[in-house]
């Protein structure tokens, strides 16, 4: 791998209590086969756990699979926590059983495309690729900047200030 080359990093996450991970695993494998570096969280993640992983792993994209019908709670919550961590530039996308009207509403609230059942994995791959290229072009190849400071202390700091719980 050449210096300066970067791979798209994607967090594939399964929020909530629903254990149907067939879609998450299929999409994770498809992302790997598309050349992405995929971090898989495993099942039963809280929004806090997903955002902690997204932050520490510095992913470009968070892709959540939600089949439990709890998407109107989970997507906005993860988005809010990402913003709070200063990660405004992470794309939050996903898939699952999500009615059209909800997809539209979530889109208006800053969530990326959501893929319904039967969507080919190639569609999600193409979507992420083009989003990534656009973002990199917008940054003018500059390395990523951190937008928004203050929240989320690193461990070392936390222990020094006694904030570590």
């Amino acid at each position: 791998m050449n210096a300066g080359e970067q791979r798209v990093r994607v967090l594939v996450a399964k929020p909530g209590l629903d254990g149907h991970d067939r879609g998450a695993k299929v999409i994770a494998s498809a992302f790997r086969d598309a050349g992405f570096e995929v971090i898989y969280t495993g099942l039963h993640q809280t929004p806090e756990m997903i955002v902690a992983a997204a932050t520490q792993e510095d992913v470009d994209v968070v892709a959540m699979s939600v089949l439990s019908g709890a998407h109107m709670t989970l997507f906005p919550r993860v988005k809010a926590l990402l913003d709070e961590a200063g990660a405004h530039d992470i794309l939050l996308t996903g898939g699952g059983i999500i009615p059209e009207a909800d997809v539209r509403e979530l889109g208006e609230r800053g969530i990326g495309r959501l893929f319904g059942p039967g969507s080919p994995t190639t569609e999600a791959v193409a979507y992420i690729r083009s989003w990534y290229q656009e973002r990199e072009a917008a940054r003018g190849q500059e390395p990523s900047q951190v937008s928004g400071q203050t929240s989320g202390q690193t461990a070392g700091q936390a222990s020094e200030t006694g904030a570590g719980g």
Binding site: G16, L17, D18, G19, H20, D21, R22, K25, V26, A28, S29, A30, Y40, G42, L43, H44, T46, S68, G69, A70, M72, T73, L74, R77, I97, P99, E100, G116, P117, G118, P120, T121, T122
Partner: protein, 576 residues
């Protein structure tokens, strides 16, 4: 009425050697003519490069007596319905005596709302109930637990205590309606809520009919609604075998399920093998406890998925019955024919429903339902066309039920027993599936058995790679899905009316919980929970202790936690 006379060969009376010679000669001639036929067929264009089932099994163009030439005799391998090895059906007269139970899985929102739906379904001719719980309940969380946020009542009904269970069956006589409950990780707790709710109705445990899914092994393998690690979870299941053998003779304490294994992406052969192997594991655990296999094996029931590939699904059910019967009799020494008899519930495959052109799902479900009936199922759930979009509406649930009624009363399919028996193709496929299952059993044995296979992630990996292969076949258009990767014209978005769960359900359920916690006898709660923890530690049967907790209105999570202190929680193995 006229009968057609056939020129039948003489039976047994003739010279045996001459008969064998004549049969050999006939097979030789068939072989010869078949070769010529194959040459001709090979020279004729084929519309596909090679036909396989959805599971990747090769399908030849033609099946003949040659495919059965090596097979064992009719009585040993196929036999009569209701007789060992039960290939043709678990009961002698099958649907001529009694149609299958039409059991639609339902549950949503609160116990009150689901109770209303149950009354509606029973009024419309449904003959059994099947409870779908919400995700928090499936994982053993109360509706007011922080992890339940946003999921209460969304994908099923929220049941957090005996109080909810009483409401769920309000006005439904539990001595007359059989109830199936899809719950696994905390199954023993929900079962006790159910027994206690029946008590409140004045119905004793021995009158209860129905099934609790309670199949934890497939949860680790595929469905992932677990609570405890395998060993304590298996102990709780054997506790239920033991308790139910004595107290609930008409109730199935387990439904060994291939459905979720298949839905997670396995092939038909994997579904068959993993499910039966799990079943054998439960049998062995029961025997290890010191139970007589004939005391609990008759109440073990099964649950299979019915996918799109018509004949493969039929062969799967026929092979399942034969393998189960043989293994119970020959390996585990069961003497009671009831122990050999595999009885199963089936559900059409949710994973085959498409979000595109959703009305087409009605046709898919109808074919799948017919395969289930030709395979000899004892009860059936037909999916609603809109389930891939959201929870089904009342109308779509009604169409799904009507699909079964059309099959039962209009098609004539149930009027003779196992009509596909003797089909060269179906019998051959039944044999092949049995052989495939035997191979997979050996492979699982070589891993050290089911639990080490789970802990090493073997099942999970096998299922995930089968799922990946199917996805690739669809994306490369090797396999066509109508409305998805072919025939997409007319696929303009249909706005199907879908059921939405009011977020107020969660709010109201939290209020109910708060009220319950205030009004119940706090001392009884503490006392029964401590006794349960103690029982978990000492190894005594958990059922009576959990029943005490249920009667004291301890909540689901409280009861779970009382055991978790001893058992620990399960963690998913890493499998990539």
């Amino acid at each position: 009425m006229s009968t057609v006379e056939h020129d039948l060969p003489p039976t047994s009376s003739g010279d045996l050697a001459a008969e064998i010679e004549r049969k050999d000669a006939e097979l030789a001639e068939l072989r010869e003519r078949l070769r010529a036929w194959e040459e001709g067929a090979a020279a004729t264009p084929s519309r596909h490069d090679g036909f396989t089932t959805i599971s990747g099994r090769e399908i030849r163009p033609l099946y003949t007596p040659m495919d059965r030439a090596e097979a064992e005799g009719y009585l040993d391998g196929i036999g009569l319905p209701g007789e060992y090895p039960f290939t043709r059906g678990p009961y002698a007269t099958m649907y001529r005596t009694r149609l299958w139970t039409m059991r639609q899985f339902a549950g949503f929102a609160s116990a009150e709302e689901t109770n209303e739906r149950y009354h509606y379904l029973l009024k419309n001719g449904q003959t059994g109930l099947s409870v779908a719980f919400d995700f928090p309940t499936l994982m053993g969380y109360d509706s007011d637990h922080p992890r339940s946020l946003g999921e209460v009542g969304v994908c099923g009904v929220a049941i957090s205590s005996l109080a909810d269970m009483e409401t769920l069956f309000d006005g439904i006589p539990l001595d007359r309606v059989s109830v199936s409950m899809t719950i696994n990780g905390p199954a023993i707790i929900l079962f006790c809520f159910y027994v206690a709710a029946a008590e409140k109705q004045g119905v004793s445990a021995d009158q209860l009919r129905g099934t609790v899914q309670n199949d934890i092994l497939k949860e680790y393998q595929a469905q992932h609604a677990w609570v405890f690690p395998p060993e304590p979870a298996l102990r709780a299941i054997v506790d239920m075998f033991e308790w139910c053998a004595e107290h609930t003779p008409k109730y199935n304490p387990i439904s060994i399920s291939g459905y979720h294994i298949r839905e997670a992406g396995s092939t038909a052969g994997q579904e068959l093998a993993f499910t039966l192997k799990n079943g054998f594991e439960y049998v062995e655990r029961g025997i290890a406890r010191g139970l007589d296999v004939d005391d609990f094996a008759p109440r073990l029931s099964f649950f299979f998925d019915i996918h799109n590939d018509f004949f493969e699904e039929i062969a799967k059910l026929r092979a399942a019955r034969r393998i189960w019967a043989r293994t119970l009799k020959e390996k585990y020494g069961a003497k009671n024919p009831e122990s050999w008899r595999l009885r199963t519930h089936c559900q059409t495959a949710g994973v085959t429903l498409t979000a595109q052109q959703p009305e087409n799902n009605i046709a898919r479900v109808a074919y799948q339902a017919m395969a289930a009936v030709l395979g000899g199922t004892q009860s059936l759930h037909t999916n609603s066309m809109d389930e891939t979009l959201a929870l089904p509406t009342e109308k779509s649930v009604r169409i799904a039920l009507r699909t079964q009624q059309i099959l039962a009363y209009e098609t004539g399919v149930p009027n003779t027993i196992d009509p596909l028996a003797g089909s060269y193709f179906v019998e051959r496929m039944t044999d092949e599936m049995e052989a495939e299952a035997e191979e997979l059993f050996e492979q699982i044995e070589s891993l050290g058995g089911v639990v080490p296979g789970i802990e090493g992630g073997w099942f999970q990996k096998e299922i995930a790679s089968a799922a990946m292969r199917q996805q690739q076949e669809i994306e490369s258009q090797e396999r066509l899905i109508v409305g998805v990767n072919a025939f997409t014209d007319g696929g303009e978005k249909v706005e199907i009316e879908t059921l939405r769960i009011d977020p107020q359900v969660e709010v109201r359920q939290r209020e109910r919980m708060a009220q319950l916690r205030e009004t119940r006898d706090a001392e009884a709660v503490q006392r029964t929970l401590s006794a349960l923890t103690e029982a978990a530690r000492s190894g005594e049967n958990l059922v009576p202790r959990i029943l005490d907790c249920a009667r004291a209105y301890c909540t689901l999570y409280e009861i779970r936690f009382a055991m978790e202190e001893v058992f620990g929680a399960y963690r998913e193995p890493v499998f990539f």
